[in-house]
Symmetry: D2
Amino acid sequence: MLRKKFAIIGGDMRNVYLADLLKKDYQYVEIYGFEKSGKPWALKSSPLDFVLEGSRVVVGGIPLLSDNGFLNMPLAKEKLCFSEFLEKIPEGAHLIAGRLTQQVKEQLEQKKVRYTDLLDREEMAVLNAAATAEGAVGILLQEMPITLLGSRILIVGYGRIGKNLARLLHGFGAEVWAAARQYADIAWIEAHGYKPVPIHHLARFVSDMDAIVNTVPALVITKDILEKVRNDCFLLDLASAPGGIDFKAAEAIGLKVRWALSLPGKVAPMTAGDIIRRTIYNILEEEGGVLS
Amino acid sequence: MLRKKFAIIGGDMRNVYLADLLKKDYQYVEIYGFEKSGKPWALKSSPLDFVLEGSRVVVGGIPLLSDNGFLNMPLAKEKLCFSEFLEKIPEGAHLIAGRLTQQVKEQLEQKKVRYTDLLDREEMAVLNAAATAEGAVGILLQEMPITLLGSRILIVGYGRIGKNLARLLHGFGAEVWAAARQYADIAWIEAHGYKPVPIHHLARFVSDMDAIVNTVPALVITKDILEKVRNDCFLLDLASAPGGIDFKAAEAIGLKVRWALSLPGKVAPMTAGDIIRRTIYNILEEEGGVLS
Amino acid sequence: MLRKKFAIIGGDMRNVYLADLLKKDYQYVEIYGFEKSGKPWALKSSPLDFVLEGSRVVVGGIPLLSDNGFLNMPLAKEKLCFSEFLEKIPEGAHLIAGRLTQQVKEQLEQKKVRYTDLLDREEMAVLNAAATAEGAVGILLQEMPITLLGSRILIVGYGRIGKNLARLLHGFGAEVWAAARQYADIAWIEAHGYKPVPIHHLARFVSDMDAIVNTVPALVITKDILEKVRNDCFLLDLASAPGGIDFKAAEAIGLKVRWALSLPGKVAPMTAGDIIRRTIYNILEEEGGVLS
Amino acid sequence: MLRKKFAIIGGDMRNVYLADLLKKDYQYVEIYGFEKSGKPWALKSSPLDFVLEGSRVVVGGIPLLSDNGFLNMPLAKEKLCFSEFLEKIPEGAHLIAGRLTQQVKEQLEQKKVRYTDLLDREEMAVLNAAATAEGAVGILLQEMPITLLGSRILIVGYGRIGKNLARLLHGFGAEVWAAARQYADIAWIEAHGYKPVPIHHLARFVSDMDAIVNTVPALVITKDILEKVRNDCFLLDLASAPGGIDFKAAEAIGLKVRWALSLPGKVAPMTAGDIIRRTIYNILEEEGGVLS
């Protein structure tokens, strides 16, 4: 394996762990923008020119940019604007980061910089879903006054996160209900040994639950449904914006609700960093032997 | 619910159970071709004209036809040719059966008979996979001289059957390895807590296994791979023809191999009949309220 | 069922939930000493005389007494000394509480008050162990930077808590190791599908673990053993005083340690209250029909 | 490790596998009485004198004797009477076998032969229970016309076998009910996430079951209870003689019953042999270093 230079530019704690793990693989890694990470070796960044020069793989944050057009670098002491970053990436490098906008992609193409959006990688989504499900269990353990053993929990949506969460809760001895739209998903719910709920009949089933966990990124748990929920039922939303619960209505009714986002990086940052590492290796392998 | 007439024409024990279960749902059911099923109520069939007359749903076997052009009716005393059957199906009826050929479909269209191929129904495939996995466990329990607890088993392919089987074996305390091609499937294997094997590296992993179960319907377990297998390793193929194991090579080497097909109908005919029943209901509901 | 009067005198949130649950069973319940519980119905206690008068079952805290000889009433506004309490318990009542000292027992016998120590009840210990295991999982999820999926965790001791915790961790896809002394326990560890460690060989196995959870109430994880532990291994002690980890040595080495006690009342107070309720019913049923 | 001579005299296939496994551990092993085992190396036994001479560990069958006073040697061509065997065991040897009668023990003591009854070894019972549970699952898969997924199964008795079986069935997605007498066992049933049945209320619960598995070696499933069972419920008795089901009554009612004994040796003879091997090592280790 010929060693390639990796430049890691910003991102959160996941990228700090990523740097560590790549080094353990004997990769050549330079970092930029982690002065506030608490890691001694990141206290002082080398100049950006030095970090990027000759790098074949440039890793950014997830997302790559923060709202204001600067790079997403929550652990950096100073800001870095995208145009400066773009100018310094070497031609022929491969930028790997999250949520690349159309505009960013075009600018990269002009500079002959290849790119991959991590959020398009299915294997990353699957592994992150496992971490998200663990985070969700942690929240349920914290917020519910009863044990998961013997509790009755409804999961809305049976995609990657729903499947992983159902399995964990079943392992605790919870009675797991799962709601989905498609017949095939309903069949999977049954094949896995849980109780299926057709999502358009949600209202009929919510009143008996100790907790309801939403994973669908669309308003499915409306005011009408919330009004049927028991007042000591805990509501957890794992779906990205705008979420799937009518939070305003839930608060008006006096229900305990929590909206938890980006759990992998929060509850298992080292695993989350490792997931990025492995996804990067897959990307490079598909590209044909950058690693070999 | 307005009752519709169901005519069940042939098929195996699954359709016998199907008839029973539909009757328990208070449906009007007539049957044809189950004289040898051992059920008292099926000893004598009514004439085909009577059975089909006025029926809105006609259920055939899986597959609908046997090789020689007759209807697939293994439990019938007499044969029935497709042309006679076709002539008597009422216009406007819905034929639900398995593996409909292009020719059959065209003839049905000419007669204005709607049709659905059960083998195209994802929910049926999922639920049958759960039954198949149970059947596979039954065979492993029977054929292996060791307990599943503590055994090391490799599942080749991580589709519907592979996923279900892995879960069951894990529940026994087996060390489960699963081989797949796609990165996303490899990610699922890990997320589920099993050991992943890239399918193109199969040869490296087979030598340590107590059993190998194939689920891929293409020759993946070739002579080269078989030569690396331990001589007391049990090989089970669950894939439909042509199967995924080079059976000839396996026998030449002296390996214990078994090819098991159509397990749901064999190991759990009542559940298999129930799966058909529920799939039929889904089909009718999608059609818009035949049942409601 | 003839209703008997229950008097609940002090104890923590578990007894608050206990009062609630007994009322839901239509029992006659009076409480004393929960003014600071946050429950509206407990803001003001009736006089002790009234509460105890005519009561057939008197429930105290776990333990019954705090260190200084007063009743254990953490949620009360005022203290209550045992002699006053003793004076007012009606003859023929049954006192049910935790950790009754020999002296207390003798004084109760003199007053012809029956008593049962909840800590002697096996069913309560088993059910609490399930809650403790959930609490331990919550702590591991919080403290470890990696997912439980794929982690390697050693549980020291395979009693009630060890068994429950092993099962939960296995459900997450952790690689579970468990250490025990007896051959029979080692056999159970294997039968459950985990990896067994003879406890006298602990030192050989600790170096590979991501976390070690002790459940043995005796110093088993000594300085010698701690020195072999990886420096990012998380140590959790669930054993009652004096605990099983040499905390001083662990801190000197710089290991991350946590000692968590009385988890059921903290992580699942309602379930913990329900466990007390059911144990009380069992006690009364054994006594012969107080409830019937 | 100093090698000791092992003499294996009779017993079933488990002892054949035992011989094989001991040899793989580089032990010196002689065998007697396995001519009909189908193993080439056992076709011809050496003379008994040679086999026993100088042996330090003598392993017999489980039980040691068959009903008629001969050694239990189902795979031998010829019979061997106990007195001849006794005469030839060297003084100071250790006889390890199953179900030693008081008379046998006394005769061994006179000859200064130590002995251990394998049936007194808890670790062997635990590991065999795991194998028995797998065998029971195999029978249920074979005999029931429905999948275990979604079935409702009652296990009577929550000892070693009941616990193992419950866990396996739960892994299939069965709804598991378990009946026990003690409050503590009921608590374990709940802690494990199954539905508890007080054994004296058995009659109330049997009518809804798809299968009932008895593990209690005393008549608990009486005629009265059998009369409440659904007529398509499958009954399996795993308890040693006299069993726990009133077989006569069950047959009179027309219920499908099966009594399965000695499952480990039948369904997993190699594992069963390995369990004996490991138990022997434990015995020798306790004895103080015969192996070390």
